[in-house]
Subunit: 224 residues, 2 copies
């Protein structure tokens, strides 16, 4: 029962209040404005959601991807694969109702072993936390939305023979190492071939864009 004192305030501004209409109108604007034709068709749904999170259709120009990433990520999530993230904010941004198999969303940044590992290894906590994914990596979808060091560390683990995730969303943000870490992901080589990847090139990225990419990869239904 709703407290009788909670009342809708008097309407003083003219704005759209229907959530579904807002989504539809937003995606319509993005499809009209964004240079989606430059992207392979499979990637356009992801691009729309990333632009939506960025509030900027130009970010679509910075998207780059391995040709299999959408199919690989979706199949992995359909099969129940975990989502592994480098930040709590990114984990929080994954829309649980879009996940096809109640997939686990795991961020190990607050694991109590992380500070000690980071100190011992002389690296960031974000990077050290990635080493705690090992048992979960096989068939997972990994998303890095904060720390370039986490992405570099992941690539080093894979080069050392760690289990292969199904796909890697590489969207760390920032001014030191971000662009470089995404280039390293796009160019990585492994004995079994590349792990399919998706990046926003350059300095931009972040938890919101990475979460948007995950939400699009998880479910092809734009308005789900």
């Amino acid at each position: 029962m709703i407290d009788k004192e909670i009342r809708r305030p008097s309407r003083r501004y003219d704005y759209q209040t229907d959530g579904l209409a807002i989504y539809k109108e937003s995606f319509g604007i993005i499809r009209a404005e964004a240079p989606l034709h430059e992207l392979p068709e499979s990637l356009r749904g992801v691009a729309v959601r990333v632009a939506h999170a960025a509030g900027d259709t130009e970010v679509v120009r910075e998207l780059a991807a391995h040709p299999d990433v959408v199919e690989a990520a979706r199949a992995a999530l359909d099969a129940g694969g975990a989502i592994l993230t480098d930040s709590e904010m990114l984990a929080r941004g994954v829309t649980r109702r879009r996940l096809p198999a109640r997939n686990e969303v795991l961020c190990t940044l607050r694991d109590p072993r992380v500070p000690e590992l980071a100190t011992e290894w002389g690296t960031t906590r974000s990077a050290a936390a990635v080493s705690l994914w090992r048992e979960r990596l096989d068939g997972a979808v990994v998303a890095i939305g904060n720390a370039p060091t986490a992405l570099f560390h992941l690539l080093e683990l894979l080069a050392d023979g760690a289990p292969r995730p199904a796909a890697i969303v590489g969207m760390p943000v920032g001014f030191v190492g971000s662009a470089e870490s995404k280039s390293a992901l796009a160019e990585h080589e492994l004995p079994g071939g590349q792990v399919p990847w998706l990046v926003v090139r350059g300095r931009r990225g972040g938890s919101a864009m990475a979460a948007a990419a995950l939400n699009a990869l998880a479910n092809p239904d734009e308005l789900a």
Copy 2:
């Protein structure tokens, strides 16, 4: 005790692994590149953090603020005021160790009353959730990082005489209503004068930028 099987992977890339050095270098790049001279001095620390979260120094040009916002927000948080947010992601992005008084960080989006209120009022859940802030508004710092409807709804509540927060960070993102809601915040009028406000004009914004703004407002120490 650390599991002996967890080892640092072999170093294969040349990247900065010292978190503090990464922060310092990042902020140095931002200070060198961003048009901070166009901003009042009190706002520059906030601008640096917002640019850092955006991975883009040009976003500084879209910042606008009431002249008292930094002082008002900091005083409110020092006095133990709550932080009220429209999204779980934004709440998650507030760095707790930067808060001066173990301030409460509250997002009411998942309150069980929200879906019913939203349906009854014909508005979004983000907007309805704002009505549940009422008892907490007095002296709080409000941050909107997702939904324009939440910001419009808040302004309507205030116009109806709701308790005044100490400051409003208005950074909803998107293509429908976002720019308009931020203009409405910048232009709002109340009998006691405006509530001090901070916005990123236009379509950009989002949880990451809003969290960065809160983290800067909470603590003037850049590297805290």
